[in-house]
Amino acid sequence: MRDVAVLGVGQTKFGKHPDKTLPELFAEAFFEAFDSSNIELREIEAIYFGNFVGEITDGAANLGGFIADEIGLAGIPAYRFEGACASSSVAFREAYLAVKHGIYDCVLVGGAEKLYSAGTPIGTRALATALDSAYEVNSGLTFPGVFALIARLYAKAYDIPLEKLREKIAHVSIKNHKYGAKNPKAQFYDKLGNLKVEDVLNSKMICSPLTLLDCCPMTDGASAVIIAHADFAEERVDEPIYVRGTGQASAGSLFRQKWDIVKALPRKKSAEMAYREAGITPKDVDVAFVHDCFTIAEVIASEALGFFEYGKGADAVEEGLTWIDGDIPINPDGGLIGKGHPVGATGTAQIYSAVKLLRGELDFVKVDAEIALTDTLGGDFGTLVNVILSVHRR
C-alpha cells in the first residue's frame, strides 16, 4: 500500500451557471486543478466524477465519458459516482483507494451539479430522490423537512426548549454566512455577512422550525482534485497535501434509524474509520469542513465527529467554539450555507478549501492548521464519507 497526496485543486465560482453544461462547468474547475499540478495531461489515468441528479436537472447521465471528452481525455476509464450530497466524496475515496492499492498512479476526481438553474420546485424534488422513494417522499417530505424533524427530535432528546434551540443553531448560519461573505468563490460572496439571530429566526419559514437562513442554497458549481501516490506528488509540487485516512458508512431510511438519528451513527462509524487509519483522535484535528446543509446538521455533525459531547454542539457554536478563533474551527470557507451546495461537487469542494487552507492559500481567512477533516453527508445518513488531510506524510 502506498501513501497518497493531493496535487492541484480547482473550484468554479458557486452560484448560477445556466450558460454551461455539466461537462463545461467541470472543465473550468479541472483546468484550475491541472494548472497547479505540474503534470502532463496524459499522466491522468482515470476520472472519478461525482454527480447526483444530472438526469433530472440537465437530462444528462453516463457523464464519465462526456467529462473525459470535454477535457481532452476521451479513452481513459471515467466513472460517475452517485451518493447524493456525498457523490464526489465517494468518488474521492474510491480514487484514493485505487491509488493507495497501486491500481493507478495519478487520477482526477471531482464533481458538478446544476441545482440553482433547475429552479426550486424541481430542485426540491430532485433532492428528495435521496430519501426513501416509497415510504418518505409520498408524504411530501423534503430535505429541509428531514432536518426540521431532526431539530425537533434533538430538542426533545436533550431537553432544550425548541425556541432556545432555534436561537442557538442560528449561530451556525451567522458564522457560515460571515465566512462565506469573505469567500470570492462563494454563492453569497459579499452578502449576508452580518446576520443577527433575529434575521435567521424571522426569515421565510421553509419547514418549521427551519427558515430559509437555516438552509443552504440551491447551487450550480463544480470542483476538481488531482491525486497521485506520494512519491509522484513530491516530485511535482512543493506542498503535496497528504490523504491520511478516509472512512465511509451507510444507513437506510430515516424512520428506521429512530433515536440513532440525533447521534448520526453512520457518521460516527465513518469518522472512526478515518481517525483509525490516520492514527489520530478528534482532538488532533485543527479545522473541519462539515456538512452544514442546514444549521442543525452542522451541530449534530460536530458531535458525531467527536468534537463535542452529544447534546453540547448547539451550545458550542453559540459560545464561539467552532468559529475561526475557537477550539475547532468549522467551515471557515462558509460551508454549504455560505458558500453554496452544488450537491455532486460539494465533497471535493470541501477538499479544495481544506487543501488551500493547509497550504496557507485561503487568503480571505486565516486558520493555522496542519490536519483538516472533511465530512460529507448523502441523504438522511444513507451515505457518509470522511477524509483526513495533512501537511505531513506521516
Binding site: L127, S133, E136, G140, T142, A148, I150, L153, F255, K258
Partner: protein
C-alpha cells in the same frame, strides 16, 4: 411489496413483518431483517402510536405544491417501529401547540401520483389522526 403495504393501508390494515429469528418487528416490511434473516412473518399492527417529531412544510417539491402547507410527522408505533406520514391537523395548530407525544392512529389516503413516484397509478399516504 410496497404496493401491497399501501393497498392494505387503504383497507385499514397496517402491515409489518416479524423476524422469526430475532423477533424484531419491521414496518413497512423489508426483504430481510436487520439481523439478515429472511424468515419473516407478515403481521398486522395496531395502527396506533405517538408523535415523535413533525414539521409544517411550506415549500414543496414539484408534484406536491398544491398541498401546502402540510404537516409531515414521524410516529413511534406501539409495537416499536417508527413510520413517516402526514398529520391530520392544520398548520396553525401544529405551529402553536407542541404535538410531540400525542397519541395517533393511522389510516391510508389516496393522492394523485407524480412522475417520479414508484407507483404510477396512485400515491397512498399514511395519515395520522390525533386520538386524544
Amino acid at each position: 411489496m410496497f404496493k401491497e403495504f399501501f393497498s392494505e393501508l387503504l383497507e385499514g390494515n397496517l402491515i409489518g413483518a416479524k423476524c422469526k429469528e430475532c423477533e424484531k418487528i419491521l414496518c413497512p416490511p423489508k426483504s430481510a431483517c436487520d439481523c439478515g434473516s429472511r424468515i419473516l412473518e407478515k403481521i398486522k399492527l395496531s395502527g396506533k402510536g405517538k408523535i415523535v417529531s413533525y414539521t409544517v412544510t411550506y415549500v414543496a417539491p414539484i408534484g406536491y405544491d398544491k398541498e401546502v402547507p402540510y404537516v409531515v410527522a414521524m410516529v413511534e408505533l406501539d409495537e416499536g417501529p417508527w413510520i413517516v406520514g402526514r398529520l391530520e391537523v392544520d398548520a396553525e395548530r401544529a405551529e402553536k401547540e407542541d404535538l410531540i407525544g400525542k397519541r395517533v392512529e393511522v389510516y391510508g389516503k389516496e393522492f394523485p401520483t407524480e412522475q417520479f413516484y414508484p407507483d404510477k397509478q396512485r400515491r397512498v399516504v399514511p395519515m395520522f389522526r390525533i386520538i386524544e
